[in-house]
Symmetry: C3
Subunit: 369 residues, 3 copies
């Protein structure tokens, strides 16, 4: 009966979802929902395709359907029809509360049509904290009067006290390859003038991106990086975290958290072993891998020290994702660690301790929540 | 008994082998056969080595031996001796017919000593269709009189009506890294003159390779790319499909099929999710992985939408490969989906539906066969 | 009972550990030990971390504890206290003798505070042979009087007769990317003068690194390369063995052995198929993966021909690692091949034969030991 103690623990363990976005607040059509089940494509899905015919789609039907009173594996049409009988806020309440999350760390960098920090707390009945996106802050500084660097620093100073960390989407703005050292004040000033002259929107200037990262290092709160799998605006091969090596060598004590990481989770695990200040999670990859999530979760448990792995769902849009990330993580970690225990490679006591570390203890230490 | 319904279905499902070459027509010696079990090495195998001592060699002995009246796992010598009692055409009839393939899509770009499209149809008792190799077509255009671009277009126009698609081996001609935009007419004309002056054989000129790809896009029929694992003439790290990102962003609606993909199958799956027109298969990787094929097939089922995955064997030479690709795929997909069903992550009904999509339905829609 | 014959064979099979370093000779504190369980980090572990909370730490407690008279999974404190009751030499005798190794091939390039070749033989009661590190030899030549190239050649000629092979840590000295052709005598002479003028320590000059590699090729004894996973001084993405392709194409008959390989073990397997003279092992990756080692060992068994795979522990420092590499390899290969046999993909007879090839037969042929 030893394995079932682990299983029971995994089923109930409290989670800190250390990187998440808001869920939708208003109803939308089926196309919105199906496109919401595809992360990579920036165009509407083709007519011949369906967002339901994917690992994520199957996982929604398997794990979310019962929360709406449907049988497991309910058909796509049946799921959609049933979903339409709820308001979006009603769905949010159902799914957020079922996730077993005590704290949501919310990236507010892109939040059109989705819940903000307070709304997420309210809908879920849990705590919610902000993670400030550096590129959004830069875009605000571009619109502010006066010196760019001062404006950036002032906005950061103003937003930092209530934030638990910062986030960079450098992966989407040219990727990690190339120099990431701190630019000089003159370089920043010149780059900012050029960018502002061009409108100051959608930051892609490397000098200013580097400036933002080093401001975040100086702040000292955990700095999250989108790594790997995302939408196709990202050149995936330039989002390999190994290109961050030189940056990490200069990053001092500020914690750096590598998010999602697929298909570079083994490289990310190496970095978590190589640097005292590097952490990783599986983020949205777990949702998108569905039935294949256990194999991925197992790879997250290779070179990374166990005190350096954290949990997140990266849910955005359909509230299903906020719940499903937790459900798939619970199922996956239970299966993977259960096999370690069954093979007598790990004791069950250790397995339960590692579950606690990843579920909440590491994130609690890291973010002070 | 639920899982066995899936197993029964997998065993009998009709396949479209969407990328294959001819099988040998005439007998050869044992060295030819053993080298035929090694894809990557372009030299004769070393004296101390044997093509039988590999995953593929073991799989031949496990799965092909019984079709020649031998026990499973018959020894290498025994297998070779028995094989010699058949004519090459006799072997082709045995193995091709046992594959359960209704349609072979035949890349005729390299066909020395192997069956052509009509012979493959005849030997297998199934339909066969041509896939035109762009680099071969370019080499024909180089030898034709007059303007190169016009010659290329004319040959393509002449061969396209009977072809179901095109194929590029850009992976072997410098790889995917670098600019793949459409060259100007002047650039094409200049590059063609230079190439023709040098003999016009074995196209490696980037301008003309790019020209060919964009002609294929314009044709609109599915365009297959050799991706990843092949022989050592290919710089494997330059055959990472992520280097195709910019090309795919420009590729419009023409279907692009990524072949083989090992060890980049996860990157290929990402591209299949990111672009409505991108597909992938496991191709020759499945044969070469033998007992390890299920783990690979499982990774093909990660980010790729299920309507974007197709089947092929990439068989070339020994007719064993045309059969074995199918046998290993059946065994692997049955095992992988069987575990999803056993874990209650997928319903058996869904598993059977996905088998049909990959086995034939996706390819039928894609190629109109 | 068929599988248990394989299991029995794996438990007892004699090993050649084809790449290893010395074990510690004198006692140290707990910080030394815990840092000795982290390969990648070049700084002391953070206060909040513990080397025990990792796959390797768990594997030490699972597999090494019983050899010290503790129960499996003994706690970290308990393990450390018990370990302190032994002398370092006593620990070495326990663990080295329990590894079941007949021959240690010892890289003597970095040997501060650890056993030398003779001591390793003595402590283990087995044979030990030297592997000469090229960069160390270069650093000796830099300090020698007269022409650098002649000095290098003379030292190599002097050390080669008693050595079974050479080793390069090019991965740590700029990585594999870029030109690796043989430099001219003039280039070598000029580079050596420059390097000597700068002190002649810690070779990073590409010309001289290339010179050393080609001297090793000329010698003809197996040349080992550190590949992939190591400490963070290595740019891991530049230690991808695919960047060795051009070098391998010029390497003639000299055997090249790719060590460790994580996370590039699939690429390394491809190279072992592509070149008659290329071999690979899993080296230190197996220790660091602990309970995840079977998945890695399975990937080593993909494209690589079975006569091209060898065993090593890469043990350095704690004598636990010299034993644990063997214990985890035995457990992992037994499990992986046991599943191939259980699935009837391999015969048990073949599985036992492949165990013998990897455990010792390939290395015996390769190194003549």
């Amino acid at each position: 009966m030893s394995v079932s103690e682990l299983a029971r623990h995994v089923a109930d363990v409290a989670l800190i979802d250390q990187h998440v976005h808001g869920c939708w607040l208003a109803a939308g059509d089926r196309a919105r929902f199906e496109n919401g089940l595809n992360e990579a494509n920036t165009e509407p899905l083709a007519d011949f395709d369906s967002g339901f015919d994917s690992q994520l789609g199957f996982a929604v039907r398997a794990h979310c359907a019962p929360l709406l009173g449907l049988p497991k594996h309910a058909g796509a049409d049946e799921y959609w029809d049933r979903r339409c009988q709820f308001s979006e806020l009603g769905l949010a309440r159902v799914f957020l509360r079922a996730a077993g999350v005590t704290d949501w760390l919310v990236d507010t960098g892109y939040a059109e049509g989705v819940a903000d920090v307070a709304q997420l707390a309210d809908l879920s009945g849990a705590r919610a904290h902000e993670v400030v996106r550096l590129e959004q802050l830069a875009e605000q500084a571009a619109q502010a009067p006066g010196d760019y660097a001062s404006a950036f620093e002032e906005i950061l100073r103003w937003r930092a006290p209530s934030a638990v960390g910062t986030k960079s989407i450098l992966a989407y703005r040219g990727g990690f390859e190339g120099d990431l050292s701190e630019p000089s004040a003159a370089e920043v000033s010149e780059a900012a003038a050029r960018w502002r002259a061009g409108g100051g929107t959608r930051l892609r200037d490397r000098v200013l991106l580097r400036f933002g990262l080093h401001q975040a290092l100086r702040l000292g709160k955990p700095l999250q990086f989108h790594v790997g799998f995302g939408d196709r605006d990202c050149d995936l091969h330039r989002a390999n975290p190994l290109y961050l090596l030189d940056f990490l060598r200069q990053s001092g004590d500020t914690p750096i958290v590598l998010l999602h990481c697929y298909p570079y989770e083994r490289e990310a695990g190496y970095l978590a072993q190589a640097f005292n200040n590097v952490y990783l999670d599986g983020g949205l990859s777990i949702n998108y891998l569905g039935a294949r999530a256990p194999a991925f979760i197992a790879r997250l448990l290779e070179l990374a020290p166990f005190r350096k792995i954290v949990y997140s769902s990266d849910g955005f849009g359909p509230a299903e994702l906020h719940f499903l990330g937790a459900a798939l993580w619970r199922k996956g970690i239970g299966q993977v660690l259960g096999e370690f225990v069954a093979d007598d490679d790990w004791s069950e006591h250790d397995a339960i301790r590692v579950v606690d570390l990843i579920a909440h203890a590491n994130a609690a230490r890291l973010y002070g929540v």
